[in-house]
Amino acid sequence: MPSGSTWLNRDKPRPFALATQAAERSLATLVYGSTRETEKHRGAGWVQVRPLREGLNRNGLLKPTYFYPGTLLPVLHERLPPHTGFLGKSLGELRVALRAALGIGCGSCLNERVPATTHRGRIVALSAALAADVSASFAVILTEPGYSAQRKYQIILPIVTAFARTASRHDLLVSACGWFRVFSSPVDGVLLPIPIIQSIWHDDDIVRETEHVLDDETLREIDRRLCDYFSLAPVDAEGGDGR
């Protein structure tokens, strides 16, 4: 299933667009779509796509739709409903907006160029329910700085401490960093599995914002892997923003 495929949510005008290639036995990451402008007004990145019912680029949309790449949902391939079309020419716009929503090249909230109210790179403690579901007590916020300060939908990457192996080339293994002090007991290494990047609602699932922030080197490596995973324009060799 190619990226840019679109789905309607149970025939309601709230569709989703696929942001990754999807194959059997793999995860597919969906971008949330809505006819509402609520998150646009809150400063979230967006792409508006108009219905196109004919031709190769028919998208199956019923109404003009905002896709919000700051709201990401990984799902199992076999859970995808029958798709209704493709984004066509809008796929390029979606990728640019996704790159911005992920804050690629923005560094962390400790960057002196961003306001102190931002959260990118900060490690947060997850609610007990979410922690049990994702087998991780902590996650790192990856939302771009501006929208992260709104404390609405946050893009997170769970920090996995209990693992036996890596599942794919998208799993980033990290060892011996200062921010490991966030854990109550010593940890030799953690895994940051890019395919389980997802959005949560800040007030639902974040119980505490810790004092710990990912180091710049790890964040740059996450950025590189995000670009690879979502087929985005790569970060340049110096670690800056390659747009």
Binding site: N9, K12, R14, L27, L30, Y32, S34, R36, T38, E39, T71, L73, P74, V75, L76, R79, L130, D133, V134, S135, A136, Y153, P158, V160, A162, F163, A164, R165, T166, A167, D171, L191, P193, P195, I196, Q198, S199, I200, W201, D204
Partner: protein, 62 residues
């Protein structure tokens, strides 16, 4: 003043305090979630399921 003290001790005055506190509690009730947030919460269940499946692969139980 004696009259005011009596007023403070009156049953009516004592009954007012819980009412004021109740109003305060009502103001703390979370606003109704938007339709988008309701759909998102529903879809999040699929994300949790997908995440669990992926983590099981990392742990070696899948």
């Amino acid at each position: 003043l004696p009259g005011e003290e009596e007023s403070m001790r009156s049953p009516t005055r004592r009954l007012r305090m819980p009412a004021v506190q109740a109003i305060g509690l009502r103001r703390q009730v979370r606003p109704k979630p938007s339709p988008d947030l309701r759909v998102f919460r529903e879809m999040s269940k699929l994300s949790r399921e997908a995440t669990r499946a992926y983590i099981d692969g990392l742990i070696g139980t899948a």
